[in-house]
Symmetry: C2
Subunit: 415 residues, 2 copies
């Protein structure tokens, strides 16, 4: 039997036992996981060093090396992340609905674990711990398939987590790591209907595309964000500038940062020059439509392809529009249904924008950078869903659960 | 452009306009649809006659011909179904959550339509109207792909529905029927990411398998039901007999009927003979394990394959078990996570069964035949989900919706 199948079967078998665990038992295991990670700090850093050296030898980029690196501070923050999960309410067993039928049947809709969750992700080793912790707290076992560049780190992390689970009431098999670096191990996971209940991809566009296009197991799509900010005619100038700059430069590498700024032509006439100067100070390259380039001569010409690109970088498309409808059409055409913002003092325009834009999160007068489980107060986040089924937007613990109807009768039969 | 793509694009374009419609406008359209179906009763029956004649010529089975047939009574009941949908509360716009963050951001989670729903189904023409009505009420446009055996009926039905929509405020393009009988039209629908938001298959196992295995668009899996009834040692004899007989024979052709009866050996010793006689009177063929055949000599031997078969017919597997765990193991191995029942007076056994069995609906002392949107009081049903994402069990209108976070700020930026 392949590594993938045999580990998925172990996770499946452990799911029933995990489902029987109390909140206290799960929290105790999470605390042991945090404690053991702290205790093995030196081992983790040594294993991580192997990944970093291999990465350097293979010439991977400094920014990827940075994401891959573990140090005492990062290990502490990973352990604190587990402690934060302990503090979250356990969603399992929540009664979501409860009613009695005229025939006396008592029907309850109860939150239950999804079962076995597959996570396919890239370089950052902290995802290994975060994802395992969140899945366990929601009563799920997990099959992790991280990037090959972090394999030594992930192997050591999971070894430590297994040691913690052995000391707990939870089945150690609840966390499985696929070690095969071969791409075929991902392909195999995607088809494990019956063993995996859902797959969540976390990473770049190519990784997510591969999962969405090839999985027969249900998928929660996460990630891609071509987010827009539309500055309406009546926007407050200072507010619009602050929101646009924040949405672009506060952290350009993430999915909720802005890629295209749409500006009403009347607002642009008075304010675009100074806003562009401010962005230039922040080292942002502007790619502008023709009308933008009349007001911002140093902007380079924008292309259709640019409008459809998630830069995750210090690059911004700027387009001048004459109406709200033009802005809505542009967003409908190029947006990825992630996060979209209107800056306006016109309540009617705000209302139309919030209703008509089809996205996980729509903002009036606030930066798109807030689309995040922590910023929303969920206390944790397994990712940001950009699909419409099951969960949409930042996903906290309830997104890792399903439901079950429990029916109590006294001999009812159907007539 | 292909028929499938061009119709999906029309449905996509109509989705925005539909999203703006009020509950009153949607209900008015549903009433017009019901009225027009009644008015065109003779045309509908004439079109259906073509399907029936072609079906007879092709030698399709009498039971399929029966499911395909329209008559005045069935058309009236289809129209009444639309009127029932009018009476259901409109889920769109419901505020599911509403909170303010310390930074002053006001976040609401609002119910919104999914957008464009694809339905792939088989012979029964009433599904064309039911599905269109439910999708529209939940603010979705719909792309219908019915079986080729009902094509004349479906074409006429959709012509009548379009006439009704023309007289309403809703966009007529909200309902699209794929007329191509070619299997490739289904395959094309399954890959229309960006145009279709979800696909719901309704029909037999082969149809559902094809959709689940080949779709890149998110799918809500419905249908297959290998349902078990477990009669525990302490079951009330008369209640157990009534529930078992009802679960098997009240309507064997549907997914929530029982395929395998598991009987505790001590209960079997006292009651299985008479229960089997009762089933024989109802023309049920029993396929039994060896111990069953000692008590029921006329039972034929059951095979592994039988345990894994959804008969949808007057055939029942019977297996004697010695413990609750043995019953749980059997269900975990052969069940399809649809509906499972325990008949017992032992509260501890009931509790374990209800918690440990992983299924959409778990019953204590009631027939599995109740897993149904109408029986649950949802007033309608688009199908029964057997997957764990998004919706599980009978799906009413809320299963046809998504959510959106709407965020009101006053210039907040992320620090």
């Amino acid at each position: 039997m392949s590594e993938v199948k045999s580990k998925a079967e172990k996770a499946r078998a452990a799911a029933t036992a995990l489902n029987r665990m109390t909140t206290e038992q799960k929290n105790e295991a999470l605390q042991l996981m945090a404690d053991h990670l702290r205790k093995h700090q030196a081992d983790l850093i040594a294993a991580n060093q192997e990944d970093l050296e291999r990465g350097k030898a293979q010439g991977i980029s400094p920014s990827l090396l940075d994401r891959l690196a573990l140090n005492p501070q990062r290990i502490e923050s990973i352990a604190e992340g587990l402690e934060q999960i302990i503090s979250l309410p356990d969603p399992i067993g929540d009664v979501l609905d409860d009613f009695e039928r005229p025939n006396g049947l008592k029907i309850s809709k109860i939150r239950v674990p999804l079962g076995v969750i597959g996570i396919v992700y890239e370089a950052r080793p902290n995802v290994t711990v975060d994802a395992a912790g969140l899945c366990l707290k929601a009563g799920n076992t997990v099959v992790l398939r991280g990037g090959s560049s972090a394999l030594s780190s992930n192997r050591k992390i999971v070894e430590v987590l297994h040691e913690a689970l052995e000391a707990s009431s939870l089945p150690a098999d609840a966390i499985q790591l696929i070690e095969s670096a071969d791409r075929s191990s991902v392909d195999e996971m995607l088809k494990l209907n019956g063993l995996l209940d859902v797959i969540i991809p976390r990473g770049g566009q190519a990784l997510i595309r591969n999962v969405v296009e090839n999985a027969t197991v249900p998928v929660i799509e996460t990630g891609a964000g071509i987010c827009h900010t539309y500055i309406d005619e009546t926007a407050d100038g200072a507010m619009a500038e602050a929101i646009a700059v924040n949405a672009k430069v506060q952290r350009p590498s993430v999915c909720n940062s802005m890629e295209t700024l749409l500006v009403d032509s009347r607002f642009a006439a008075g304010h675009l020059g100074s806003l562009a100067d401010r962005l230039r100070q922040e080292k942002v390259e502007i790619r502008g439509c023709e009308r933008t380039r009349e007001l911002v001569p140093w902007a380079v010409p924008v292309t259709e392809q640019d409008y459809a690109t998630e830069y995750n970088d210090y690059i911004l498309n700027v387009k001048i529009v004459d109406t709200l409808d033009e802005a809505l059409d542009h967003i409908s055409r190029y947006g990825t249904k992630h996060s979209e913002c209107i800056v306006t003092e016109n309540a009617g325009h705000a209302k139309r924008f919030l209703q008509e834009v089809d996205a996980a999160a729509v903002y009036h007068n606030a930066s798109t950078r807030f689309t995040d489980g922590f910023e929303f107060g969920f206390g944790a986040e397994i990712g940001i869903s950009t699909q419409k089924l099951h969960a949409r937007g930042p996903m906290g613990l309830p997104a890792l659960t399903s439901t079950k109807y429990v029916i109590h009768g006294s001999g009812q039969i159907r007539g």
